[in-house]
Amino acid sequence: MRTIQPLCTIVLVMTCSVAALAQTAASDQDKTTVEDLKAPTAPAFVVLGVSPSKIERPQAVRPLIMSALSAVSSEGFPRNYAVEFAPYWLGTPQLSFKEYYESGVVKAIPRHLSVSVATTPLGKAADSGTAIAFGARTLPLPGRAHPKLKPLLDKLHDLQRRSIGEEGRFSRHEAFIKLLREAQASATKTTAEELSAKAVVDLIDRVVELDIELDKVQIALEAIPEEMEEAKKLPPAAAKAELARLERDLAEAKAALPKLQKERKELGDQMVKAVGSTAVAASLATERQFETLVARYDQAQRVRIAQTDAQLKSTALAIQDLDSHRVGPLLAVATALAWDVPSDRTSLTSLSRVGFWVTPGYRFVRCPTPEQCSTPIDVLGVVRYLDNRRAGESGDTWEYGARAVWQATPKLAASAEWLGRTTDDESGTRVVGVAEYEVTESVFVYASFGRDFEEAGVRQNLVSTIGLSFGLGKKPILLLNR
């Protein structure tokens, strides 16, 4: 059905007043529409009057239990908790796509059932207590599949078949890349084996050995002068002998250092000769060839798979979207109950709010070919009952209405809406016809004419408006939803 959902709009309104006292500016009209009375997806949130910023949506039993357990604090009821789940889908039902779409009333009720639970503090004080609501919504008549579904499914299956061919067990691309990788690994192994020839290994060992020797000599050269200073403090005879020994050590170290450094430096040259005597060069060339081949073909395969996956995803999302645009008879029902628990004392619990929604409808689409369908004609009925039993706010309200929407062209839509309301002390109706035309993606001209709810002594009930709406967001203003 039609909703005006601008991200941000600037609205210019011209009110054509037949009567001099008419005061039907958009700002002071009752804003309730048929759209507002539709069965909400999460009735528990609606009956509590909350819009939770965080809603848990578990898809299995374990996450649901974990969610509930983590919400319960040691101080009592959870605060600002909101959860929404579909009981039927918590398990692993062996339900085919076809069966899902061809559900009769009895099967559709559990399959489309969603349960919502919400809590909110009763007041700002920490001990004010909690309001808890439980709600349920289902679609006894979810409607028939949109005629566009069949060609989309055919396209999806074609893409899935292609995907199996590209990356399945019998994919030649996958097998080729797998073999290339294995060949690359084998070439790397061959290079490693060549490099493990005795001459090379001996050189590697000598590097380790020489580095240790060099460390020893360099440390000795730093230590001996210190030891000489210490030796001078000994008795003269002992000092003389010790100094003589240290002088010899120093001379040996000084002589050894350049030799070791020279040999260490020459190891690089010896390594060149040792490697040159093996087949490393050839195996490295082979390794590089496979590296290039793997990179090239793996990249091409990844691109091919990514392209198919992207097409699969866009087709799947289009199929998902059609689930919200089913045609034929539609019926949504929802109910919710809320309780107040003052000071979180369960003995003081009282039923505070009751809500009930019934939303029948019918959507008609004409499709001369499955790919080319007319814009839909939607007829929608709504009934909403809200009973507020909270002290000081008590009262029940019945609201009901109907709306027909016809999108004559993709840019022009017309609707007629009738709304009725009965409360404890007043009742009234509103009948309004609206036409909207999309000038650009974000600019709309609309006109409405009809009779609004009457408020005695406050305003007359004529609705006669021509407006221009400028959307500043990219999101389309006109949406056709179930």
Binding site: Q59, P93, Q160, R169
Partner: protein
């Protein structure tokens, strides 16, 4: 790279070599998929799920061979991101179900399920 899941199993075909061994493949949770079935390297069928009770061969024919079931399943459900592929085998001394559940992280994504079943006497 697309998500892949693999599962291996076996199925006892029994001693009656003339018994027909049948296989069926179902995609659950309201999702849809395309299935290819091969016996060793011989393709048997390639069609959208469900595949109902397909004759794979006699017990004597299939013994020692590998049944390879590949199913590409895409999340087309607004109700759940979960999916499953179940291969059912009959004709042997006892029927056998080989289920393989999965879940995609984002709406509209796909999983390639591979179920490989060895036929044993």
């Amino acid at each position: 790279m697309a998500k892949k899941q693999k599962k291996t199993s076996f199925y006892k075909v029994g001693t009656n070599g003339a018994a027909d061994i049948l296989a069926s493949v179902d995609v659950g949770l309201g999702q849809t998929g395309f299935v290819t079935i091969s016996l060793d390297q011989t393709p048997i069928v390639s069609a959208p799920a469900p595949i109902g009770l397909l004759r794979v061969g006699t017990a004597a024919d299939v013994k020692g061979k590998l049944l390879i079931v590949e199913a590409k399943v895409t999340d087309v459900s607004i109700m759940t991101n979960k999916m499953s592929v179940t291969v059912k085998l009959t004709g042997g001394p006892a029927d056998k179900l080989v289920p393989q559940p999965g879940e995609v992280a984002e709406q509209g994504e796909s999983i390639l399920f591979e179920t490989t079943i060895l036929f044993r006497q």
